[in-house]
């Protein structure tokens, strides 16, 4: 909505298909870069005869990955469900708290410092505590660790997003004598969506990290974090790397889902 927009013709609409094609073509450089890194990695490990203890070749990791697919799948599922559950809970709680804080000044003043304090808690410190609170064999323990990590960025972004409304839009709603709840649903929520999705993207990455860290403090023996710990102890380094690769794929899938949802739900972000 720039003031100097052209006047005669509408800006050419590219359409959804073209947008998806654009997204696909933007992924080509990334895929090529990844391939190049893998080839270089393979070449360096072989060329300098680096021992697998330090760094296995990507091809060895890939073969282990395929061979152990069943066990890796289970490990990623055990860790991933804690990550997903915590992600949903933390994001949901962060949004609701942020919405309440945006509505009432005193809540904002009370909650923001507490939110900052929560955000500063190291995950490593919370994991044993949650293990104590919940059964260490409950998904809720690790999910709580994840939720705590996801909560903070969502709280801050929701508060920021809900108060990022345009002055002109506010005047419009005022001139139409819109009741408060309508201003909230029709103006504030849509304005906040890009911010909320920003927090979801950050949260998706943090969720996987937090879930794996929580694995290290007990819990399920077949979890990905526990798996890595055990494989390292038995000197199966290639197996540990394969587990890392599996977690990486899960993280990418989660992030990709959030990005896809963002594109679908906030298509105006592509407008010129």
């Amino acid at each position: 909505m720039s003031a100097t927009a052209q006047v005669t013709a509408p800006v050419a609409s590219t359409g959804r298909r073209a947008t998806l094609q654009g997204a696909a073509s933007r992924m080509v450089p990334a895929a090529l870069t990844a391939l190049l890194v893998l080839v270089l990695w393979e070449a360096i490990v072989r060329g300098f005869a680096i021992r697998p203890i330090f760094l296995p070749t990507p091809s060895a990791i890939a073969m282990t990955f395929v061979r152990e697919l069943g066990r890796l799948g289970e490990a990623v599922w055990i860790t991933g469900r804690a990550a997903l559950l915590g992600f949903v809970l933390g994001a949901g709680a962060g949004f609701v708290t942020g919405a309440l804080a945006a509505r009432w000044q005193w809540m904002r003043e009370g909650l923001l410092p507490m939110g900052v304090a929560f955000g500063a808690i190291p995950i490593v410190a919370t994991a044993p505590i949650f293990n104590l609170w919940f059964s260490s064999l409950s998904v809720w323990s690790n999910a709580s660790v994840v939720a705590l990590v996801v909560f903070f960025p969502m709280l801050v972004n929701t508060i920021t997003g809900l108060s990022a409304t345009d002055d002109g839009h506010e005047e419009l709603m005022h001139s139409l004598a819109a009741p408060r709840h309508q201003t909230f649903t029709k103006l504030m929520i849509p304005t906040s969506l890009p911010f909320v999705f920003g927090a979801l993207r950050v949260g998706a990455a943090l969720a996987v990290i937090a879930a794996v860290v929580a694995d290290f403090f007990g819990g399920f023996r077949s979890s990905a974090g526990f798996f890595i710990k055990t494989l390292m102890a038995t000197a199966d380094y290639t197996g540990a790397w394969a587990t890392v690769a599996a977690l990486c794929l899960f993280g990418l899938a989660l992030y990709g889902s959030v990005a896809l949802a963002e594109r679908t739900l906030t298509p105006w972000g592509d407008d010129g």
Binding site: V7, T8, E171, S175, P190, L193
Partner: protein, 282 residues
């Protein structure tokens, strides 16, 4: 530049309010009584408006014109209950400005289109109707009707970001008119557009105004625009904003390209310009 001394002048003296300004005017819809607006307080206080009184008759098209900082936008915002006057009062059809706003008497068009970019063009026009609680089918019918009126019918499903600036402003006009407010307040709506587009928008606006028979108060700093559109022009002086003169525009409606080339049009443009120049010097 010729002076207007010889021409027949219809400039009325300062605050000659209350007189019917157009032949078909029956009563004052909007009455502004000795409105003063100060911003800030103490030694930093700026007086934006001082003792402004005007009476806008029903179904007329009034323009407020003046140099930057003359308080014309402030006056419009006081009329629309977006800000409160420091002293004085505004009534609209007998109601206070706040009551009028709450009963949805105002359609407002701002300098920026202020469309919701997350809504389609049609749903932007539907917004006031949603707030009024109108049902879905009726809303849609009304919105499409309004979009036809501003000749954007085929753009109903586009998003505002896909339209040009002029088209976005036409959507904003359709939105402001969708709920049939008794008063249309427009704050330099075409200020950001180029001259050619602005003239075309002026033609459109007059056509719509004549069809809907609504009352318009229009803020502008363009003299030709004010003369072409208005039935009555309020010339305002720079800080503190006061009513310097009121000029009746006796050009017959409907107006078109011929109007813009008529001698009377040029006389009126010159008259407004002279009045504004005196304001700058005084």
């Amino acid at each position: 530049m010729t002076t207007s001394e010889g021409s027949a002048t219809s400039t009325t003296p300062d605050r000659a309010a209350g007189e019917p300004s157009t032949p078909d005017a029956d009563r004052a819809l909007v009455s502004v009584r000795e409105v003063t607006k100060r911003f800030g307080d103490g030694s930093d206080a700026v007086t934006a408006l001082r003792d402004v009184s005007i009476d806008v008759p029903s179904r007329s098209f009034w323009s407020l014109i003046g140099p930057s900082g003359c308080g014309k936008s402030t006056l419009l915002r006081v009329m629309g209950d977006l800000i409160e006057p420091t002293a004085g009062a505004v009534t609209v059809g007998g109601k206070t400005a706040a009551e009028a706003r709450r009963s949805r008497d105002y359609g407002m068009v701002f300098q920026k289109p202020t469309l919701f970019n997350w809504r389609t063009v049609r749903r932007n026009v539907e917004l006031p109707l949603e707030i009024l609680g109108m049902n879905r089918d009726e809303r849609r019918r009304r919105a499409d009707e309004m979009l036809q009126l501003v000749e954007l019918g085929e753009f109903a499903t586009k998003r505002p970001g896909q339209l040009s600036g002029g088209m976005q402003q036409r959507v904003a006009i359709a939105r402001a008119l969708s709920f049939e407010p008794s008063l249309l307040l427009m704050d330099e709506p075409f200020g950001a557009l180029d001259e050619i587009t602005r003239e075309r928008m002026n033609d459109e606006l007059l056509r719509i105004w004549q069809r809907l028979q609504t009352t318009v108060v229009f803020v502008t700093h363009s003299i030709p625009e004010a003369v072409f559109l208005s039935s009555h022009i309020v010339v305002m002086s720079p800080r503190p904003g006061r009513v310097l003169a009121e000029i009746d525009v006796d050009l017959p409606y409907p107006r078109d390209e011929e109007t813009r080339e008529s001698p009377r049009y040029f006389e009126l443009v010159t008259e407004v310009r002279e009045t504004l120049r005196q304001a700058q010097q005084g």
